[in-house]
């Protein structure tokens, strides 16, 4: 029942054997050893499994791997240097256990593309689909704003 699919993963052409029920997170972990997207709630409610597919953030715990066929998949592991968002998360102490952090960073990048100068309310609403049980929320807001400033400066 497995079939081969092709897609681009973090800029590289790849292929994988996937079963119809397998999610994108499972395939990224089992076939590619990428663990930055991880399953927590398994219901599309927490954002720990966030993956960017064709430029949009999706819940990788619900997104079937087969749908990535022919697409462009990007994960937190992409790139070899920290970007402004990652730097800001470090500087503002916006992570504790770190389990939610990749999801928040990917969503923050998308937020800042759409709203380069977000106010608190925009940030809260845009990121409300991501949960952090360590509750680093106040520091995440700080980081989003710092990242926005950093991006404007460059």
């Amino acid at each position: 029942m497995r079939r081969s699919i092709q897609f681009r993963l973090n800029g590289e052409a790849v292929s994988a054997q996937v079963a119809p029920h397998e999610t994108l997170v499972e395939v990224l972990q089992d076939a590619f050893g990428l663990f930055g997207a991880r399953e927590s709630c398994g219901q599309g409610l927490c954002g720990c499994c966030t993956v960017v597919v064709n430029g949009r953030a999706v819940s990788g715990c619900l997104y079937l791997a087969s749908f990535a066929e022919g697409g462009e998949v990007s994960t937190i592991e992409a790139g070899s240097r920290l970007d402004a968002v990652q730097e800001a998360f470090i500087e503002c102490g916006s992570l504790q256990c770190g389990f939610c952090t990749p999801g928040f960073i990917l969503m923050t990048r998308q937020l800042l593309e759409e709203h380069p100068e977000p106010d608190d309310d925009t940030i809260r609403h845009y990121l409300s689909g991501n949960l952090c049980r360590c509750a680093a929320y106040p520091q995440i807001i700080e980081a989003v704003k710092l990242a926005a400033r950093k991006m404007r400066q460059t």
Partner: protein, 757 residues
């Protein structure tokens, strides 16, 4: 307490250094057990009980076994050869690795399906059929005191704790520990008091929901066992698994990388004994990863009931207090009896009261087990005594802050146990709360549909005692340093703090210090990462170990007749003829302690340090919907002198926000058969961005814990203490209704508002 260093050096202690593992976490590369895959590994899927209390009459696994790809289905009967007596637990040996003959709550593990493909294991687990002869069940902690439904036929204390020994073999009871404290004569003082107030409070059962659900992996040979586990207590896991198997400890290795959150959920034994026996049974590596849903059937926070009665003199002094607390421990004791005693003795609050009587009961019920959750029972107690305090102040017409100030337990005064208060900045915390809330300014309570109110609460905790931490600090030939300790970094920043402490002693930048994660083959014993004990206990051990290393280096220098400022590599070169070798310093720390008298609960040395935390809030209540909006949340704490002020602030803030969820909406909902109805984040909501208060202020008052490493003490739980009662007090301030049961959700506020009309 800043040490004299050469001017070029920055003190490491007191630096707001970002967590050392930040890069790993922002790039998705941090190691979690969640990520681990081993060659030939089997995935286990647990089949769980569907009744709250019953005898297992029949267990049919044939259909599951027949599914293609299923390696094996295992139930208690299969474990006998490996574990003759398959019961574990830190306080009682009451919890079976898999249910034996009986089940005691809905969701209890009964069997496990093993398969190389987790989907196959899951599919097959659905095909297992169990039949039960149902037994009467009890769910409520108060009913459990007298219920005919008895959860355990006979009590089996583990023998670790002297105050549980007398319970051995006791039958016909659900009481897993009764703790009593008697100071003065509360009954007589109550009778003589000018005013007497009595109230009852309750808290609900909630769950930690770490975002990395519980997960353990075991691999084995004929003579060795390695457990990779998301555990807060690797040393305990090794000791307990060794006991179960009858093996020496050196054949068992327990490794713990980072945890994706813990909060007390990952303490003692959870999945470790199960994966260990499954691996020994199959000679394969076995992994069990719980789903978010399954976590709710594993460990929770105690629901509780509290009756509190105080006598007050005409001038507003509390002269007597009676506390009765009942802790709903669920079907297995876990650490509940410790919560009952260690937190129980603070049930009268941070007040100077001459006559105190406390009775605290750990109860078995047919619900998922309860253990420690960020506060070890303290938030349940503060909830009750700080609502009570406010109710009395308002009745007496005394300002709530003034009333507290009149009664505060000040340094040098005896706490209810008789232990003298030391380095507990209770008054400072209260003062700063009043300042930050601008308490003396007029406050606009509103007039329309939306009313405003404000409230405060303050609580304290005795760090659990006696517990031990050991550490080693290794200085390499090039002068670089490695810290070995079994403290688990679950997000609280312990790696960073330990590196700062070692760096401070050895005059090294903390960034260059490496902290080796818990691995019982390598890192020395530590009681556990719990109860905000690590920074104090392990911090002291690491400091001693670093000082020991420094002393040995200095000895080498003088032996080799080298000048005091000789660089470390030069010492090794001279000693060994090349830049090689190491110096290992060791440190062990166990604070002094005096056990409480069994009859009176009194002791002169109850705890190595006190934690103090208070919160103040300004809220809005929508009188048409009962909805509360928190406009301002102020958290003030005594954490001693922070090692890393930024991390301390995020701990206070994170703890307070977590408690906000337990205050306003989180609640495990059970039906009349003990079946949990909301075991998922879809129906069990935890705080998200939209639940955040508009403004949060966190402050550590300037303080020093003289016995702590560089004046510091623990902080992980402190932010939780005051949040719930502060909000209930503010609701009363806003709309004049008093809620005594958590959570303070719109429905219950609305109902109270209706009643008050």
């Amino acid at each position: 307490m800043k040490r004299a260093l050469s001017p070029a050096e920055t003190p490491q202690v007191g630096r707001s250094l970002p967590r050392l593992e930040s890069w790993l976490k922002v790039t998705g590369r941090a190691e979690y057990v969640h990520n681990l895959r081993l060659p030939g590994m089997l995935y286990g899927r647990i089949f769980r009980s569907s009744v709250a209390h019953g005898r297992i009459r029949r267990l049919d696994v044939s259909a599951a076994q027949a599914v293609g790809g299923v390696h094996r289905v295992v139930s208690a009967a299969d474990l006998k050869g490996i574990v003759p007596d398959p019961y574990y637990g830190p306080a009682f040996h009451d919890q079976p690795v898999l249910a034996v003959d009986k089940v005691r709550y809905v969701g209890e593990p009964v069997a496990v399906v093993l398969a190389a493909d987790p989907h196959v294991a899951e599919e097959a687990a659905h095909l297992i059929v169990a039949e039960y002869e149902e037994l009467p069940a009890v769910y409520d902690e108060l009913e459990a005191m007298t219920s005919k439904a008895i959860v355990h036929d006979a009590l089996k204390p583990a023998g670790t704790f002297p105050d549980l020994k007398h319970l051995k073999g006791r039958t016909g009871t659900n009481v897993a520990l009764d703790f009593h404290l008697r100071r003065g004569d509360a009954a007589q003082a109550l009778a003589a008091a000018d005013r007497v107030f009595e109230h009852r409070f309750r808290t609900q059962q909630v769950m930690h929901t770490p975002l990395e659900p519980l997960v353990s992996v075991a691999e084995s040979t004929d003579s060795s066992l390695t457990i990779h586990t998301a555990s807060q207590s690797p040393s305990f896991v090794r000791i307990e698994v060794a006991r179960l198997l009858g093996w020496p400890e050196n054949r068992i290795r327990v490794r713990v990388p980072f945890l994706g959150g813990g909060f007390g959920a990952k303490l003692y034994i959870k999945l470790e004994a199960l994966v260990a026996v499954l691996s020994l049974l199959t000679r394969r590596a076995v992994k069990i990863s719980l789903t978010m849903e399954e976590q709710f059937f594993t460990i929770t926070k105690h629901a509780s009931s509290f009756r509190i009665k105080s006598g007050v003199t005409r001038d507003g002094r509390i002269c007597a207090r009676e506390c009765e607390v009942w802790w709903n421990g669920g079907a297995y004791a876990d650490i509940g009896p410790r919560v009952t005693q260690k937190s129980g003795f603070t049930a009268a609050g941070p007040y100077d009261i001459e006559h105190v009587a406390i009775d605290s009961y750990a109860l078995y019920t047919n619900l998922p087990p309860a253990g420690a959750l960020r506060g070890f029972g303290i938030p349940q107690l503060v909830w009750a005594y700080e609502c009570h305090t406010d109710m009395m102040a308002r009745e007496l017409g005394i300002d709530p802050i003034e009333f507290r100030r009149r009664n505060l337990l000040r340094d040098g005064r005896p706490q209810a146990t008789g232990t003298l208060m030391r380095d507990a900045a209770i008054e400072k915390v209260l003062d700063r709360l009043a300042v930050l809330l601008e308490w003396n300014r007029p406050f606009d309570r509103g007039t329309g549909v939306v009313r405003r109110g404000r409230g405060i609460a303050i609580g304290f905790k005795a760090c659990v005692s006696p517990t031990t931490s050991l550490a080693a600090v290794n200085v390499n030939g090039d002068g670089s340093c490695i810290v070995y300790c079994s403290t688990v970094d679950m997000g609280q920043g312990s790696d960073t703090a330990m590196a700062q402490i070692a760096g401070e002693v050895l005059h090294l930048p903390a960034e260059t210090v490496r902290v080796v994660h818990s691995d019982t083959d390598v890192t020395p014993y530590d009681m556990a990462t719990l109860g905000s004990r690590s920074l104090f206990h392990m911090g002291n051990a690491v400091k001693l170990a670093a000082e020991d290393a420094l002393k040995k280096l200095n000895q080498l220098k003088s032996e080799l007749q080298m000048p005091p400022d000789a660089a470390i590599p030069e010492i090794f070169k001279k000693k060994y003829g090349m830049q090689a070798g190491n110096v290992v310093g060791t440190g062990s720390f166990i604070p002094s302690y005096a056990p409480p008298d069994y009859a009176t609960g009194l002791t002169s040395d109850a705890t190595p340090f006190w934690m103090v935390g208070g919160s103040g809030v300004e809220i809005e209540v929508d009188t048409e919907t009962g909805r509360v909006r928190v406009a301002r949340l102020v958290n003030v704490a005594d954490v001693g002198t922070p090692i890393n002020p930024k991390i301390v602030e995020t701990q206070l803030s994170g703890a307070a926000i977590m408690q906000l969820g337990f205050t306003l909406f989180e609640k495990m909902l059970f039906d009349e058969h003990g079946q949990l109805r909301n075991a998922s984040l879809a129906e069990y909501k935890i705080p998200g961005f939209l639940d955040m208060p508009e403004e949060i202020i966190n402050e550590a008052v300037s303080a020093e814990q003289r016995s702590g490493p560089f004046g510091a003490k623990g902080v992980g739980e402190t932010g939780t203490f005051g949040v719930s009662p502060a909000i209930a007090n503010a609701i009363h301030d806003a709309v004049g209704v008093r809620l005594t049961v958590l959570p303070l959700n719109p429905e219950s506020i609305f109902m109270e508002l209706q009643k008050a009309k």
